[in-house]
């Protein structure tokens, strides 16, 4: 699969490494090239500097050929905007969005955007740990 990841933070960088090791074709975008230090030395994919909320940059990252687009930056709104560009402008078959704010995540999920709120997921996980 061709996967385009926006945001090379801890999670984005790690996800890129995992998918790359699985043999997928990975491109990762970040506005700061310093973020690419998080990629493992074995990473064979492409790392590109650029802002994923700009359609031109996404085009340069070959979004048109991507099977999956994942938005993993720190900003909920940036992620939401980039995902909607991927979904509605470039018709990427699968788009997954990280949205920290649970209410915003619910809203965009109801609008047809596949999204995950780490806040909700982790809170529930920790509750499980604590009360079994």
């Amino acid at each position: 699969m061709k996967v385009l990841i926006m945001g090379c933070g801890r999670v984005g960088g790690r996800l890129a490494g995992l998918l790359d090791a699985d043999g997928h074709e990975v491109t990762i975008l970040d506005t700061d090239s310093f973020s690419f230090r998080r990629l493992s030395p074995e990473f064979n994919g492409t790392a590109l500097v650029g802002n994923g909320t700009d359609a031109e940059v996404l085009k340069r990252a070959q979004i048109e050929e991507a099977d999956v687009f994942v938005a993993m930056t720190q900003g909920d709104n940036r992620n939401v905007m980039a995902c909607q560009i991927a979904q509605h402008i470039f018709n990427v078959p699968r788009v997954i969005c990280r949205i920290y704010d649970p209410l915003r995540q619910e809203l965009y999920a109801s609008m047809g955007l596949e999204s995950i709120s780490p806040t909700t997921v982790f809170a529930e996980m920790f509750r499980e740990k604590i009360v079994g």
Binding site: D76, N77, V80, M81, I89, D101, R104, L107
Partner: protein
Amino acid sequence: MYIIVVGGGRVGYYLTKALLDEGHEVLLVEKNATICDTIIDEMGSICINGDGCEAVTLEEIGTGRADMLVAVTGDDEDNLVACQVAKYKFNVPRTISRVRNPRNETLFKKLGVDVAVSSTNIILEHIEEEVPTHPLTHLLAIEDSGHEIVEVKIPPEAATIGKSVRELSLPPATKLALVIRKKGRYRVPTLNTIIKAEDRIIAITTPESEEDLRYTLRGT
């Protein structure tokens, strides 16, 4: 009207002031507490400190009964989300967003924002109008149809002068609507109309065809 303004920067500040002067009920949402306090000191308690993209904040300020939400922060993504939350969660009838990147104007409209205003595009349009040598001026975008009305000026040295409209191969989805001649005389062009120097031709076209249209009419 009850109007919510998101973003208390320079645009938001003057916009709020103008809307208040017009007698509207206005509430400004600003993230920065210091800016918020300054505005309250000056204009009274019309500013709330909070994030205008957050449903909780918008709930608190009664967005459900708002007639309009205007998002004018400096970040396009924040403006987009504020408008979408207002529109899809609170059913605000009209949402207006400022866009910094001119390309986002069409994108935002596609994503449900009623009006997207790009200051860059507005300034650019004015420059086009003011600079007489500009070969193609955008006069109007026809909403939803993807068409636009443009004006092409024929320079004295254009290769097309003396040719009839029939001889020109116009790009797809393009129609010549009006030819304006000296002294403000105008006519609706037919296939036999001859292109003359200094003609101003009003045409309906699409953004994709405008370069071709300019070339067809001016020869450059």
